[in-house]
Amino acid sequence: MKSDFDLSAWPPPSLFSRRHFLRLGARLAGALALLPWVPGAAWAAALEAVFKERTVADVLKGLGDDIQSSDQITIVTPEIAENGAVVPVTVKSALPSTTEIYLVVEKNPNPLAAAFIIPDQTEPSISARVKVAQSSNLIAVVKADGKLYSATRETKVTLGGCGG
């Protein structure tokens, strides 16, 4: 079995200089100081704090200021999910030079659910499944050509069952 977990290739080197990364980096100087030469690990360490944020506003602030809404981002989720434990989501970006995709669930205790880095040769389209604690907006944040964009779609989740 291939046991290594080689982070050295994360993320593409171009990401290093991006504004929001520096912003995160500044807030987490300690983490960066420990791992100054592994960009993937630093990105992960910086995001760790954003994953802990409790409100959408703080999550978005953590990802970077100046996020513009864009109709070039498509979010596909069922209008109504039978159970919030598994809600399928596809985020597709038509924005040129898309490098990152973030999934944010507005009403979850920790809204940031997942972050993806999209290398050059990979389509800016990701499907995943997330937990949605209650009917809520799903927000896709996309980084394209160094700038952040977002789109929002509501999904309903239902209660069910015969007993406990």
Binding site: L159, G160, G161, C162, G163, G164
Partner: protein
Amino acid sequence: MFRRWTCVMAATLGVAFVVPLQAEGVADSFRAKGQAKLDRLDQTDMQRICSGPVGMTVPDDVRARLQKTATDSVKFPAADRFLGKWEAGQKIAQTGTGMQSSDDPAVPSGGNCYACHQMAPTEMSYGTLGPSLAGYGKQRGQSEAMLKYTWTRIWNPQAHMPCSHMPRFGDAGILTEEQIRDVMAFLFDPASPVNK
């Protein structure tokens, strides 16, 4: 227990009797767990009579007996206090746990009304085994007859509809008198979301 039932069923209802498959007896297929002991497999008179297949028939005199037993079981609240707090009733209507082998017997049971009934029109997750109760109090008012009728329907549905599949919430001790008052308020209170 099961075998006794099959014999009675065969005798009372004329259902074709088939020799039980397992010589060791069906109750051996269960084990006591938590609050659910093996005596729960024993049938009451009503349960035994109402265990026939779809299309089963029950003689009129047996129906009358079931209805009388159920009617006699109903205990109306002291001092005609039929209505409690609708907010508490709403919670009971939403709660599905209670009396399962996995439930803590110290925790009060829910009524799980939404499993089978529409109630507040704003709650979209409701079942359809029972009739819709949306607007229940608004449509019916709060006459003593209506309060008593509804109390009876909750306490022991067999009184009005023999072999109903709705639990006997009062008679079987699923809900307390206080809880039934709260559910009643959820149905009747003009401020309750049921009547909005």
